[in-house]
């Protein structure tokens, strides 16, 4: 266990190094420079351009820029090119906003997909099984931006509540209860959208896993003992079908960043995805690179946690 941890840590460190190199090269070697973002602006004189390039080390060789970028990142000195604010502070602030979406979305995913998947597996071939299968495919296939607009039309016309942004403008004077309700209404649609793909995939996995387990010998034995159906399925079956999902706890970490770009842009949600989108529009390289780096770190931590959980949950697995 200890040797696995150490070995895996160093492997991941090497991977992270290559990721940092590749993402740096991809962004810095692309044609066009951030200093050319607004070439027609008459206020942006050649002297300004020179100062800009000097200020952000753009006139130095590539490897020096790489070194300076990661030195600044790790010492917390990294500044956004757009507004000169420290990058980590900006990301931190947005991260907390995204965290809400992520937590609610994950809760919705896990609470919905398990009952649906287990039900589909137990009643295999029934009407509910086929419906949930088709629905899962529809949820995977629906473009999130289209689904977002359907939900907006539905919620706005049925409940008459505003849904764009994190809260309604001018609610600061209202009572605590009103404010809380307002926040919840704003949270619901984006987190449902964030959960759609997850619900579809996870319910399919649960169904497949459960199907595999309930065709095994120990389930037949449990049935033959005369146990009730609930006990057979939930106590004997589900416990064995759960193993892969415990490990999925680690793998959902990267969901904090990936995939939220479109949803956060539509709902004007001040989170990581929206910040990434704005940074791309403004060619704010430090922010783009740092978000990429944070995402990669989250993926690596996630796989590490899931590897560890594999071992803890299932002692048969040796790594």
């Amino acid at each position: 266990m200890f040797s696995f941890t150490v070995r895996s840590f160093f492997q991941k460190l090497v991977t992270l190094f290559f990721i940092s190199v590749i993402s740096f090269l991809v962004i810095y070697l692309a044609p066009g420079e951030p200093s050319q973002i607004d070439p027609l602006n008459p206020k942006f004189t050649p002297e300004d351009l020179q100062r800009f390039r000097q200020e952000f080390n753009l006139d130095k060789p590539l490897h020096v820029q790489y070194y300076l970028y990661y030195k600044n990142l790790f010492t917390g000195q990294l500044k956004s090119w757009k507004d000169n604010q420290p990058v980590m502070a900006k990301i931190n602030e947005r991260f907390l906003n995204s965290l809400w979406l992520f937590i609610v979305g994950t809760l919705i995913t896990w609470c919905l997909s398990f009952p649906v998947g287990i039900n589909a597996a137990i009643n295999r071939g029934s009407f509910s099984d086929r419906t949930s299968t088709l629905l899962a495919y529809v949820l995977i296939s629906i473009p999130s931006f289209f689904f977002a607009y359907i939900l907006i039309i539905f919620v706005v016309q049925t409940f008459h509540v505003p849904v764009i942004g994190m809260q309604t403008f001018g609610m600061t004077g209202a009572g605590k209860l009103y404010q809380a309700m307002d926040r919840i209404w704003h949270l619901v649609i984006p987190s449902i959208l964030g959960a759609t793909g997850g619900i579809a995939l996870l319910s399919r996995y649960v169904r497949a896993q459960m199907l595999e387990v309930i065709h095994q010998d120990f389930i037949r034995t449990a049935r033959a003992k005369g146990l009730s159906a609930d006990r057979v399925y939930y106590s004997h079956g589900l416990r064995n079908a759960l193993l892969p999902f415990v490990t999925m706890f680690g793998l959902i970490l990267p969901g904090l960043i990936g995939g939220s770009v479109i949803i956060e842009s539509i709902f004007a949600w001040p989170g990581m995805g929206r910040m990434a989108f704005e940074a791309i529009l403004a060619r704010d390289y430090p922010i783009i690179l740092t978000i990429n780096f944070v995402a990669a770190v989250l993926v690596l931590i996630g796989t590490f946690i899931s590897d560890l959980l594999y071992m803890v949950v299932d002692p048969r697995i040796r790594l």
Binding site: A30, S141, F145, Y149, G258, A276
Partner: protein, 396 residues
């Protein structure tokens, strides 16, 4: 008529049965081709069958869309602006007094309405269908090609170790291309000359001094090919895919080819893993050993014997990959980074229409539902293929 056809069918079946009986009497198994076996299973899956029907229909529509909207004076003009006719509902007829006859849509009817510039949404959808189709197929084609090559190498030559000299040369070439891209041509020349020198040196040493220390250092086995490729796959999997595609597409000049290439270059990891796994298991099987013993060349073994056996999961993941490539392109177009205007894609029709969500909902529903139906059909078709082509699932 139908009874006659039935009789022909029965006769044919009887003939087939006779052949089967003959085979069985000779102690041979009944011949069932792989395709007909797969088709027998696939046919039972009604959803997958529908998926295939829509898949073929979409192909026809996209091709006719290309033909009808192509050229200087197309039948369906997707970029004709008619200001008096803006935001008309589907199936409304053209106002023959306000619009000049040469600007009328086909048959004088806007089948799917018009957008905020009075452009015919039907024509734009037809044009966008071709974009979706090509983006899906080209991107997945690139991904599958890379995946087949890398996965094949990792699976077949995985045990081979890379010598230090090759690693040095590869690193030097990478550095050279970096120099080249960052506009320092002289550096690129120096580094690639260095790489050539190392290569030439090791070759000369191979001819003359095999015992020398330098040769031993240069031919030192470093790392397995398999490890190298799979580590690279791991690295690529750590990037948040959509964010990476968005970044690169936003930085590069807007063009449909860039989008195809970028989606393809970020989507090959799954195929690589499948192909490697298949190759690893195939390599140990008897027919491959037999082929090796017969002295058949590696190329022939790989392309004639192994790839046909490993292609099934690749086909499945390619079908599903097309679906996700179409979704990705639509997402990029929606965010404004897709195919540059005035070319229409389903994503940018929806993106333009979202401002009129409550006044002209068809501008949202028509492209949205089309994307949904097409992606759904690809997904269902792919899943059906997986069940039909996977021999392990047949027993159940």
């Amino acid at each position: 008529m139908s009874s006659a056809r039935n009789r022909v069918g029965i006769e044919m079946r009887m003939k087939a049965d006779e052949q089967d009986v003959n085979k069985l009497s000779q102690g041979l198994a009944v011949e069932v081709s792989r395709f007909s076996e797969a088709w027998r299973i696939f046919r039972k899956n009604r959803l997958a069958l529908w998926g295939m029907v829509i898949f073929i229909l979409f192909f026809v529509v996209a091709l006719s869309g290309l033909v009808l909207t192509y050229g200087d004076d197309p039948v369906l003009d997707p970029s004709k602006v008619r200001m008096p006719e803006k935001l008309l509902a589907p199936l409304s007829t053209v106002n023959r007094e306000m619009v000049a006859p040469e600007d009328w849509p086909a048959f004088g009817v806007y089948l799917l309405g018009t957008d905020d510039l009075g452009r015919d949404v039907f024509a734009r959808m037809m044009q966008g269908a071709w974009v979706s189709l090509t983006v899906g197929f080209v991107a997945v084609g690139i991904a599958v090609a890379i995946g087949l090559v890398l996965g094949g190498i990792a699976g077949y030559y995985g045990m081979v170790k890379v010598r230090l000299v090759y690693l040095l040369c590869a690193a030097a070439l990478c550095a050279a291309s970096v120099f080249l891209f960052s506009g320092q041509g002289r550096g690129a020349v120096y580094v690639s000359l260095g790489a050539l020198f190392i290569l030439g040196l090791s070759y000369a040493l191979l001819r003359h001094g095999e015992d020398s220390l330098l040769y031993r250092v240069l031919s030192f086995d470093t790392i397995g090919v398999d490890t190298l490729i799979m580590r690279f796959v791991d690295i690529m999997l750590c990037f948040p895919a959509f964010f990476l595609i968005l970044t690169v597409v936003a930085i590069l000049p807007p063009s449909i080819y860039n989008i195809m290439v970028v989606i393809g270059l970020t989507g090959w990891m799954g195929t690589t893993r499948f192909v490697r796994a298949e190759f690893l298991s195939l390599r140990e099987q008897d027919f491959v050993s037999a082929a090796k013993v017969m002295g058949i060349s590696d190329t022939s073994i790989i392309f004639r014997h192994m790839i046909p056996n490993a292609i099934a999961p690749v086909l499945v993941s390619a079908t599903i990959g097309i679906a996700s490539a179409i979704l990705t392109e639509a997402g990029l177009s929606f965010l404004g980074f897709g195919v540059p205007p005035p070319h229409a894609t389903w994503g940018n029709i929806l993106s333009d229409g979202k401002r009129f969500l409550f006044d002209a909902p068809w501008l949202t529903y028509i492209p949205g539902l089309s994307i949904l139906v097409i992606v759904l059909s690809f997904n269902l078709f792919g899943e059906g293929l997986r069940d039909a082509l996977n021999p392990k699932l047949r027993k159940r």
